[in-house]
């Protein structure tokens, strides 16, 4: 029973960690920052499981300032 509880806790922990509750709000926090883009526009950007904050900011810079 104890083992089952431990496994259940681990399972819930993994679910919580991998679920997304909005940018930067999952149990495993992703890096977030205020970004000033190369053309002066600003935004708040977070990394996620697939892309780092810099990768995402870089892509946005291409779209906003390109």
């Amino acid at each position: 029973m104890k083992n089952f509880k431990s496994l259940l806790c681990l399972f819930l922990f993994m679910i919580a960690g991998t679920s997304s509750f909005g940018e930067g709000n999952s149990l495993f926090k992703y890096d977030c920052a205020d970004v000033t883009f190369s053309c002066g526009a600003t935004g708040y950007v977070c990394g996620n499981a697939n892309e780092s904050l810099v990768d995402r900011a870089w892509k946005l810079d291409g779209e906003i300032c390109g």
Partner: protein, 267 residues
């Protein structure tokens, strides 16, 4: 102007001689001149594009796209996550309208497009039905032969040279008996002109992206059309960006003026 053209021609000829057409790995630099707004002939823009050819495969990218990638690595190294602020306004980031990597082989053309995430669509090189003419002209000292093809809703006139017997060229164009030296659509909205040929080490500058969405070309073009119509919606879907009303207007206006993509339809 004449001196500049003579210098360019000499440079190209010398580079081609140095490149030894028989060797396998070539780096070809093309100048792309394009008209982003079909209604504004006075707005012509330029970008340098690079074609890396190795054995029977090639990779085609914008030079600025490549420079951006190198610069991003430097910014990543120097970024301090504890600062809570990333200032890209201090970095001189080269901008490009062509954020794609095109891999070509005799069997397939794979287009990887970076538009807030990687998309991939493929084309069949055999669908490029070239019509080769007997017309010959000299371009920058190279003897070139004329060929015509229709692609993506445009009709193109190409000039290829048998002096560099490599069946490749800029963008998705390939399959001629020699390297494409110049290719222009008949409306003169997109023109690729070869300005330099060099040897290179045979290693492509980009690895294939790891995470991408495979999509049909038709769906991709429809996504791009929707992006041009609703850029702010797509930006907000990607990240919580707070743009001022003036910035939003600037981006919307800019996208509406980019109404002349190289691919008008999926064929």
């Amino acid at each position: 102007m004449k001196i500049a053209i003579t210098l360019l021609a000499t440079c190209l000829t010398v580079s081609v001689m140095l490149a030894q057409p028989g060797s396998q790995a070539l780096k070809c630099t093309y100048q792309l001149t394009f008209q982003p707004d079909s209604t504004d002939k006075n707005n012509q823009q330029n970008e340098l594009m690079l074609l890396y050819i190795s054995k029977n495969e090639s990779q085609f990218v914008s030079k600025n796209f490549m420079l951006r990638d190198s610069l991003k690595k430097v910014v990543k190294r120097n970024y301090d996550p504890s600062s809570g602020h990333l200032d890209l306004s201090q970095v001189s980031i080269p901008q490009t309208r062509f954020r794609f990597i095109i891999y070509k082989s005799q069997e397939i053309i794979d287009v990887f497009y970076d538009k807030l995430g990687w998309f991939k669509y493929s084309e069949d090189p055999e669908e490029l039905c070239w019509e080769i003419s007997n017309e010959i002209k000299s371009i920058n000292g190279l003897s070139c032969q004329k060929a015509m093809v229709s692609h993506g809703g445009r009709n193109y006139v190409a000039w290829f040279t048998n002096e560099i017997p490599v069946p490749d060229g800029p963008y998705i164009f390939s399959g001629l008996p020699g390297l494409i030296v110049e290719i222009t659509d008949t409306q003169n909205h997109y023109n690729f002109s070869l300005i330099q040929v060099q040897n290179h080490n045979g290693i492509f500058p980009f690895e294939e992206p790891k995470d991408y969405l495979t999509i049909s070309k038709a769906k991709f073009l429809s996504f791009m059309a929707d992006y041009r119509k609703n850029p702010i919606k797509h930006l907000k879907q990607y990240a919580s960006v707070s743009l001022s009303p003036a910035e939003r207007k600037r981006i919307k206006d800019r996208e509406s003026r980019r109404n002349n993509p190289i691919e008008l339809k999926a064929n």
